[in-house]
C-alpha cells in the first residue's frame, strides 16, 4: 500500500536509497551472522538488530568519520553504518587474527577506532560514559565533533544513564542520545520496568530537549538526528531521540522467546519492516531492478567477507598474553616482562584445546 505514495525525487531520493542500501547491508550481514552462528562458525554470544536497522542507518548517515559513536551488545548495525568493513567485522566474529579486534573482542566487544566506533559494550549502559567523555573531549580540544550514544530501553534504568545525561546537559556537551526502544530488555517487557509510556520524559529531568520518532522510518530517524547533530555542532548541547522500534529476533541467537507470541513479531514486521517501509516511501523512485541490486550487492559483500574470514588464521596462542598494556612487547616493557616471566613458569603447558576451541575453526 505504501507503494501508492508519491515518489520522492532529487537529494531526498538519493538519501533514501543510501539509507535503504545500508539497511539491506545490515539485514544481510545479520542474517549471515545468524546462519554462521548456528553452523558453529561464530563463538560466544550474538545479538541481532533485525527490525531496528532504520535507527543505525538513519543516525549514522548524519555523522562524519571523526564523530564518535558508542554502541551496545546489539551493535552490528551501528558498526556497519558507522563505516566498518564487513570483512573486518565477520573476521572478528569468526575469531580470526584478521578481525578488527584481532579476535579478542567478538560480537559483544567490537570496535573500530578508524571510523570513530568506540565499541560495542558487554555492559548495558556502558556507552553513556564513553559518549559523555567523547563529547567533553571535543569541547576540551575545541573541535566541532559530536558523539552519539546508542542504547536500549533497558539501559535507561541504570544509574549511568542518569548521571551522564545530566552531565552532558549541564555542560552543553555535543552528545546525541539515540534510544532504540524495542519494547523489551531481554525477556522483560519495558512496561514492567517503567511506569512511563515514553522514556523521553526522563530527558526533562535533565533539562535536555527530546524528540520521539518512528524508529521504523529511516527518514524520520535521519531528520531528528540531523537536527540534533546541527544543534550539537553549533554548541547548543545534547539531544535525546527516542526511536520506537522492535526487535524481530530473539534477545540473542538461540533465545527460546517464551516471553512473547510469535504472532506479535509477525504483526510488527508485516506492518513496519523498515526495509519494506523505505521501499514504499521511495515508490517509483526506485525500480525493482535497483532494489534487487541492493540485495545482490550486499550478498556478494557478505560472501566475500565470509570467505575472507574463513581463509584467515586464528590468532596465535601467544597473542593471549599481549595487549593489556601499552609499550613494546619485549622485556623492556616492565609489565610485559613480568607477564612473560610468570607465564613461562607454567603457561606453556596450557594445552591448546578445550570446550570452546572447536569454535576457533581449527
Amino acid at each position: 500500500m505504501a507503494k501508492t505514495l508519491p515518489a520522492i525525487a532529487g537529494a531526498r531520493r538519493d538519501l533514501g536509497v543510501a539509507l535503504l542500501r545500508m539497511m539491506i547491508r545490515i539485514r544481510v550481514l545479520e542474517e549471515g551472522i545468524e546462519k554462521h552462528f548456528l553452523a558453529g562458525e561464530i563463538p560466544g554470544f550474538a545479538h541481532l538488530s533485525i527490525g531496528q536497522e532504520a535507527v543505525a542507518a538513519g543516525t549514522c548517515a548524519n555523522l562524519r568519520a571523526d564523530d564518535a559513536i558508542a554502541s551496545t551488545h546489539r551493535g552490528h548495525g551501528h558498526t556497519l553504518a558507522k563505516g566498518t568493513s564487513m570483512r573486518g567485522m565477520v573476521a572478528e566474529l569468526f575469531a580470526r587474527s584478521t578481525g578488527i579486534c584481532k579476535g579478542k573482542g567478538g560480537s559483544m566487544h567490537i570496535a573500530d577506532f578508524s571510523v570513530g566506533m568506540l565499541g560495542a559494550n558487554g555492559v548495558v549502559a556502558g556507552g553513556f560514559g564513553l559518549v559523555a567523555g567523547a563529547a567533553l573531549s571535543a569541547v576540551q580540544r575545541k573541535t566541532d565533533q559530536v558523539a552519539v550514544c546508542f542504547f536500549g530501553d533497558g539501559a535507561t534504568n541504570r544509574g549511568p544513564f542518569h548521571e551522564n545525561l545530566n552531565l552532558c546537559a549541564i555542560w552543553n556537551l555535543p552528545a546525541i542520545f539515540v534510544l532504540e526502544n524495542n519494547r523489551y530488555a531481554s525477556t522483560t517487557s519495558t512496561a514492567e520496568t517503567m511506569k512511563i509510556a515514553d522514556v523521553a520524559i526522563r530527558a526533562d529531568g535533565y533539562g535536555m530537549p527530546s524528540a520521539i520518532v518512528d524508529g521504523f522510518d529511516a527518514f524520520a530517524v535521519y531528520d531528528a538526528v540531523a537536527a540534533a547533530v546541527e544543534r550539537a555542532r553549533a554548541g547548543g548541547g545534547p539531544t535525546f531521540v527516542e526511536c520506537k522500534t522492535y526487535r524481530a529476533r530473539g534477545h540473542f541467537i538461540g533465545d527460546p522467546e517464551r516471553y512473547r507470541e510469535k504472532s506479535e513479531v509477525e504483526d510488527v514486521m508485516n506492518a513496519s519492516d523498515p526495509i519494506v517501509r523505505m521501499q514504499g516511501l521511495l515508490g517509483e523512485a526506485l525500480t525493482p531492478a535497483e532494489f534487487e541490486r541492493l540485495w545482490s550487492e550486499a550478498r556478494e559483500e557478505l560472501a566475500d567477507a565470509v570467505a575472507f574470514a574463513r581463509s584467515s588464521p586464528a590468532p596465535e596462542r601467544e597473542e593471549a598474553f599481549f595487549g593489556a598494556y601499552t609499550g613494546d612487547r619485549d622485556a623492556r616493557n616492565p609489565v610485559h616482562a613480568i607477564e612473560v616471566r610468570e607465564r613461562d613458569r607454567f603457561m606453556p603447558f596450557a594445552p591448546n584445546v578445550g570446550p570452546g576451541s572447536q569454535g576457533s575453526g581449527h
Binding site: A95, G106, V123, S186, T188, T193, A350, S360
Partner: protein, 329 residues
C-alpha cells in the same frame, strides 16, 4: 540416600527448600522469573512461590543490591542474582560500603542476611566483560563471607548455608559448572558449613589446594599424576572467606609440597593469600616453594584458542605437580 542431579538443579533445590522453610526468603534478579534464568537455575520457582517472591527486575544492579541490603536489615533474607558476576561492579558500593560494613560500624545493632548469587568464570568465549572471577576482592573486604561451590553437592549445601547465614554472603557459581551432574544427599537440612574445606582426595606427595571449577581440573590432574606414581591430595576449600586455615595447615603437613590453583587472575588472587599464609605458618614444613596457578594477567579474550591458553587446566596443574615433586622449579 543421594541422587545425581546437575549443579544448576542443585541450586534450584536449595532455593526451593529454603523458600519453603522461610517465608522471608525471596529472589531478585534480571530475567529470572519469566524464562527461568539464563541457565535455567530458577525454573519453576515463580510458579510455586509467586512472582512476588521471585521478581524480575529492571536492569538496576545498584538498586537490586541496595534493596537487598535494606530488606536484609528489616527482617528478610533476600537472594539477589547478579546475572553475571562481572556486574557486581555496578553495585560495588552497596556490597562493600553498605552490606559489609553496617553491622560493624553500627555496633552490631543489625545483621545483613543477604545472599548474592554471582555466575562467573571463563566459558564459551563470553569475552572480557562476562568471564571474570572476582572473589579475591571480597576476601579483602571485611564483613563478607565468600563461597565457591565445586560440584552439585557444594552447590546445594553452600547455597542453603549462605541463605541461612546472618552475614552477607557472596555465592560464586561458575557458569561452566551448571550442566555438570553430581551426587546430592537426600536431606532437606543438608548444608555445607561455611568456613570448612573438604578433602576430595588424600595423597602424600603433593597437595593441590583449590576451589570451584578448578577442583574438578585438579582431580583430573591427580588421576594423571597417579600414572607417574605421584599421589596427590586435593583440598576443595568450598569457602574462600573465612578460609579453613586448619585444613590447609593439615594438607601442608601431610605433603610438604603445595600447589594453589584457581581460575581467577593469579596476581592478587585468593591463591596469594593462601600461599603467603602457608609461608608464614608452615615455613619449616615446606620442602619446596608453594606454586600458584591462575589466569594470566590479561582480560579474558574472545577467540577460543586465546581463551583456552590463559587459565590453568588439568595438564598445567599436573605438570606443575610433577615439576614440584621432582624439584624442577
Amino acid at each position: 540416600m543421594a541422587r545425581t542431579i546437575s549443579f544448576s538443579d542443585a541450586t534450584l533445590e536449595a532455593m526451593r527448600e529454603e523458600m519453603r522453610r522461610d517465608p522471608t526468603v525471596f529472589l531478585l534478579g534480571e530475567d529470572i522469573a519469566k524464562q527461568g534464568g539464563i541457565f535455567g537455575q530458577f525454573k519453576g520457582l515463580p510458579q510455586e512461590f509467586g512472582f512476588d517472591r521471585v521478581r524480575d527486575t529492571p536492569i538496576s544492579e545498584a538498586a537490586l543490591v541496595g534493596a537487598g541490603v535494606g530488606a536484609a536489615l528489616t527482617g528478610c533474607r533476600p537472594v539477589v542474582d547478579m546475572h553475571f558476576a562481572d556486574f557486581i561492579t555496578c553495585a560495588m558500593d552497596e556490597v562493600v560500603n553498605q552490606a559489609a560494613k553496617l553491622r560493624y560500624m553500627f555496633g552490631e545493632q543489625c545483621v545483613v542476611p543477604m545472599t548474592l548469587r554471582a555466575p562467573d568464570g571463563i566459558t564459551k568465549s563470553a569475552g572480557s566483560q562476562h568471564s571474570q572471577a572476582l572473589e579475591s576482592w571480597f576476601v579483602h573486604t571485611p564483613g563478607l563471607e565468600v563461597v565457591v561451590p565445586a560440584d552439585a553437592e557444594d552447590a546445594k549445601g553452600l547455597l542453603k548455608a549462605a541463605i541461612r547465614s546472618d552475614n552477607p554472603t557472596l555465592y560464586f557459581e561458575q557458569k561452566a559448572l551448571f550442566p555438570q551432574k553430581g551426587a546430592v544427599p537426600d536431606d532437606d537440612d543438608f548444608v555445607v558449613p561455611i568456613g570448612k574445606a573438604k578433602t576430595m582426595r588424600d595423597g602424600s606427595d603433593v597437595a593441590i589446594v583449590t576451589y570451584g571449577i578448578t577442583v574438578g581440573r585438579a582431580m583430573e590432574a591427580a588421576r594423571e599424576l597417579e600414572a607417574d606414581g605421584i599421589d596427590a591430595t586435593v583440598l576443595n576449600l568450598r569457602t574462600v572467606w573465612p578460609l579453613d586455615f586448619d585444613a590447609i595447615v593439615d594438607a601442608v603437613a601431610r605433603t610438604h609440597r603445595v600447589i594453589v590453583a584457581h581460575e581467577a587472575v593469579r596476581v592478587g588472587g585468593v591463591g596469594a593469600e593462601i600461599a603467603s599464609f602457608i609461608g608464614e605458618h608452615c615455613f619449616d614444613e615446606l620442602d619446596a616453594p608453594v606454586v600458584r596457578l591462575g589466569a594470566a594477567h590479561v582480560p579474558v579474550p574472545f577467540a577460543p584458542v586465546l581463551q583456552e591458553a590463559m587459565y590453568p587446566k588439568a595438564p598445567m596443574i599436573a605438570d606443575a605437580a610433577r615439576r614440584l615433586v621432582r624439584r624442577e622449579l
